[in-house]
């Protein structure tokens, strides 16, 4: 194969010892008794349920639709009966509840009949394939959850497809296992993408601590357009813009997207899901999830139906009896969650079950500058922290707050244990609110000023009208002078007549 050289390194980032020694098998998790499928997706409106409580559904059946462009339809992930449609807690950043469809399993896992009309995808027009990907409910499975069809639509002049198999966060191994166990599907998924995007090449990037995944893909790859590249193992290597920089030496400008440069990035698991959807006609009803952490005996990968509970697969990994901290997603960028009853979603790539530990106390920032050495985008976190903490968003913007990718490298090295990234997220939110507020204020001011202008204009118009009227009236009066004289004369005449009459009597 043409290219297997090590790509160049980016600045900053951190190397975290990866001491997980899990097996690279993918264990089929037992069919769950019930699943919970949230109607709220990553962003956008809630989907609308097409089923009612009591309906029987088959695995893969469409159960909720959406018109929101940034959302995907929802499918039943097991066969059974709709047991409830109500609000439940979901693993989402907001911590809010969402309407969810609950399905009680009938234990049979009966599938809908699969539509394999695009099996020979090279004969299908790209738009049809994108529609099929959307209909299969595919979103970015690397953790971002961005709808795949939205990335592929309206793509012009796409040159390069980058397949992200870096899996740079320590502990997670679901992509590694997927590449080792399903290399053929990954390669065929890349071929489908090449056809859809009419791109000239695809690069699969894998960190150099995953030699087995690398050789598995290398063995299956017969396509000249696809190259597989090792990149140095270092955290944040998988961040889209940094990955593009290390592979192609193209720096996507701040504020623009990879697609502006004719590049799209997809995660390996997403690519495999695309292959399943197009070749086999299967909608996305399951994913590979890693269960790991200091609280479990066997770190393991499971292929599990979406909507199954965290508890279903945690139990299979033999957790110890100590109190645990749960985290969904990566050690660095993941989300702390409260309970094991939450449903697994499309972005749940990993569940950390860590023994609860006391966090070291936060101390003041001494501006040691460790953070700016590891910041992969070259920010000065200590300065940003100073301004963010004091809610001075204007200054924080001067120090390029929006460019922070929230990778938490700075948190990791901070000797004072300050949760820096958390402050930056809050400052970004505050800045957003302030800009909204400024926008609203500007509109309100405009409206007020227009009202003021209108009132003044009306008053002026009225004054002008009155003046005109008065002038007219006066003119009239002036004209009437002759008449007045006539009246006066007439009166006089009457008077003289009266006088005459009186004298006659």
């Amino acid at each position: 194969m043409p290219n297997s050289a090590l790509a160049q390194e980016f600045q900053g980032g951190i190397v975290i010892a990866n001491n997980s020694s899990g097996s690279m098998k993918i264990v089929q998790a037992p069919l769950p008794d019930s699943v919970i499928l949230p109607l709220q997706q990553r962003i956008g409106d809630e989907a609308v349920a097409l089923v009612a409580v009591g309906d029987e559904v088959l695995t893969g059946q469409l159960i909720a639709e959406t018109t929101d462009y940034f959302c995907t339809p929802i499918h039943a992930t097991i066969s059974g009966i709709i047991s409830a449609i109500d609000k439940q807690i979901i693993p989402h950043k907001s911590g809010l509840k969402s309407n969810c469809i609950s399905i009680k399993s009938d234990g049979k896992d009966e599938w809908i009949s699969l539509n394999q009309q695009h099996k020979n995808f090279l004969q299908s027009p790209p738009e049809k394939l994108i529609d099929a990907i959307q209909a299969a409910g595919i979103v970015g499975l690397g953790g971002g959850g961005f709808p795949t069809h939205a990335k592929l639509k309206n793509l012009t002049n796409c040159q390069t497809i980058i397949i992200n198999g870096t899996e740079c966060e320590p502990g997670i191994m679901c992509d590694d296992a997927l590449m080792q166990n399903h290399p053929l599907e990954v390669i065929s998924g890349v071929e489908i993408l090449l056809h859809i995007c009419a791109a000239s090449r695809a690069i699969i990037a894998i960190e150099d601590d995953k030699p087995a995944a690398f050789s598995a893909l290398q063995k299956c790859n017969k396509n000249q357009q696809i190259s597989i590249v090792k990149i140095p193992t270092k955290y944040t290597s998988g961040a889209e813009k940094l990955l593009i920089k290390s592979l192609l030496n193209i720096e996507i400008p701040s504020g623009s997207f990879a697609s502006d440069e004719g590049i799209i990035c997809q995660n390996v698991a997403t690519v495999k899901a695309i292959s399943d959807a197009i070749i086999e006609g299967k909608p996305l009803v399951s994913r590979v999830v890693t269960v790991t952490g200091s609280g479990v005996a066997i770190p393991q990968n499971y292929e599990v139906r979406l909507g199954a509970k965290f508890a279903d697969i945690i139990a299979a990994s033999k957790p110890n009896n100590l109190p645990h901290n749960l985290r969904m997603g990566g050690l660095m960028m993941g989300l702390d969650v409260e309970n094991i009853g939450l449903p697994i979603g499309k972005i749940s790539n990993c569940i950390f079950v860590n023994n609860a530990e006391k966090k070291p106390a936060e101390q003041p920032c001494i501006r040691c500058g460790q953070c700016n050495l590891v910041c992969p985008v070259g920010l000065l976190p200590q300065q940003l922290f100073w301004w963010s903490k004091h809610k001075n968003t204007e200054k924080a913007m001067d120090y390029n707050l929006p460019d922070c990718i929230e990778c938490r490298c700075c948190d990791f090295v901070c000797p004072s244990h300050i949760p820096l990234a958390q402050h930056f997220v809050a400052a970004k939110e505050l800045n957003y609110q302030q800009t909204q507020q400024q926008y609203k204020t500007a509109i309100a001011k405009k409206r007020f000023e227009f009202r003021q202008f209108r009132l003044e204009r009306n008053a002026a118009e009225r004054a002008e009208m009155m003046a005109k009227k008065r002038a007219e009236l006066q003119k009239k009066m002036a004209n009437d002078k002759s008449q007045k004289a006539k009246i006066a004369k007439a009166l006089e005449r009457v008077k003289t007549k009266k006088d005459e009459n009186n004298s006659n009597i």
Binding site: K241, E251, S254, P364
Partner: protein, 304 residues
């Protein structure tokens, strides 16, 4: 981290001890005790937890830096006043660790030097034992034979009297050893990555640049550059004082500028100023410039 810095100071302290005697020990003991007392009292008034601040070692480090900068036979109230001033006006009044714009130890030093120039420039001329130094510090006057002026001060006077610079440089053997001690300690900090190379290297290059320039202009009037490197507070300043992260510049480029200009200022103040050594004033002057340096030396952000 602060503790590592304190350990690294020990080599230089031992050298000072070797040449000046037990006074060094007394000064450090007095300084550190004052630091603990002053900070505890201040935190109590501010109703803040005391233990985390005392145990972070930053107050003790400030006290130690000040204690080893002042003459080993200075009366006890010098170091007590200096440390108290440094910690109250240089640190706690700004909000404590991380919030002070000036290097507290150097603020204390400058305060002492301006207020008590005599006590601040009278050094022990030979090794004083435990009892002798105790007497000197706690108020029993010493015979003049045991004391002398600061090395740099006397050099300056003698240069003015017409002796050649090379002739005099041999006298400063004790200074050189002390500086070597701090240099080794500083290298240890570099190796342990507790400090970064930018400030010390830039500082020493600054000293070297300006002193070589002066030496080339007139070698009978100005000291050779190697003397400037090994005299007074050069090494202590380069590795332990200018590198105080709180009051130093924080961008990589900014650190180079910051260190370099301190080096230049040190020599300028030494040679042309009225005070024997310039580290304290040079550091304080550059502290003022830090916000400006940081703002204009931001690294390039990805994608911009």
């Amino acid at each position: 981290m602060m503790r590592q810095v304190i350990y690294a100071l020990l080599l230089g302290v031992i050298a000072e001890f070797y040449f000046f005697g037990w006074g060094v020990f007394w000064q450090i003991l007095l300084g550190v005790s004052t630091a603990i007392l002053v900070e505890s009292a201040f935190l109590k008034i501010r109703k803040l937890p005391i233990k985390p601040v005392i145990t972070d070692g930053s107050g003790a480090l400030t006290a130690m830096l000040l204690a080893i900068s002042i003459p080993s036979i200075a009366p006890w109230w010098i170091v007590v006043l200096g440390v108290a001033f440094a910690l109250i006006f240089g640190k706690q009044l700004y909000g404590g660790l991380g919030h002070n714009p000036f290097n507290p130890a150097m603020l204390g030093y400058a305060f002492l030097l301006i207020s008590y120039p005599l006590q601040m420039t009278t050094w022990a001329a030979e090794f004083l034992n435990f009892a002798q130094s105790f007497e000197a510090i706690f108020g029993i006057n010493l015979p003049d034979a045991l004391t002398g002026a600061t090395k740099l001060d006397s050099l300056k006077t003698q240069l003015a009297l017409g002796k050649s610079a090379t002739e005099l440089s041999i006298n400063s053997i004790s200074q050189a050893w002390i500086n070597l001690g701090f240099l080794l300690g500083g290298l240890y900090l570099l190796a342990r990555k507790i400090i970064l190379w930018h400030i010390p290297i830039a500082f020493l290059s600054g000293v070297l640049t300006i002193s070589s320039l002066l030496f080339l202009i007139d070698n009978s009037l100005y000291l050779p550059p190697q003397n400037h490197l090994l005299l007074g507070g050069t090494m202590l300043g380069a590795f332990f004082i200018a590198t105080d992260p709180v009051s130093a510049a924080t961008t990589p480029k900014g650190r180079l500028i910051y260190g370099f200009f301190i080096g230049i200022l040190v020599v300028i103040i030494r040679v042309f100023g009225g005070y024997p050594d310039g580290v304290a004033f040079a550091v304080l002057l550059m502290n003022i410039a830090v916000p400006l340096i940081d703002y204009y030396t931001q690294p390039k952000v990805f994608g911009q």
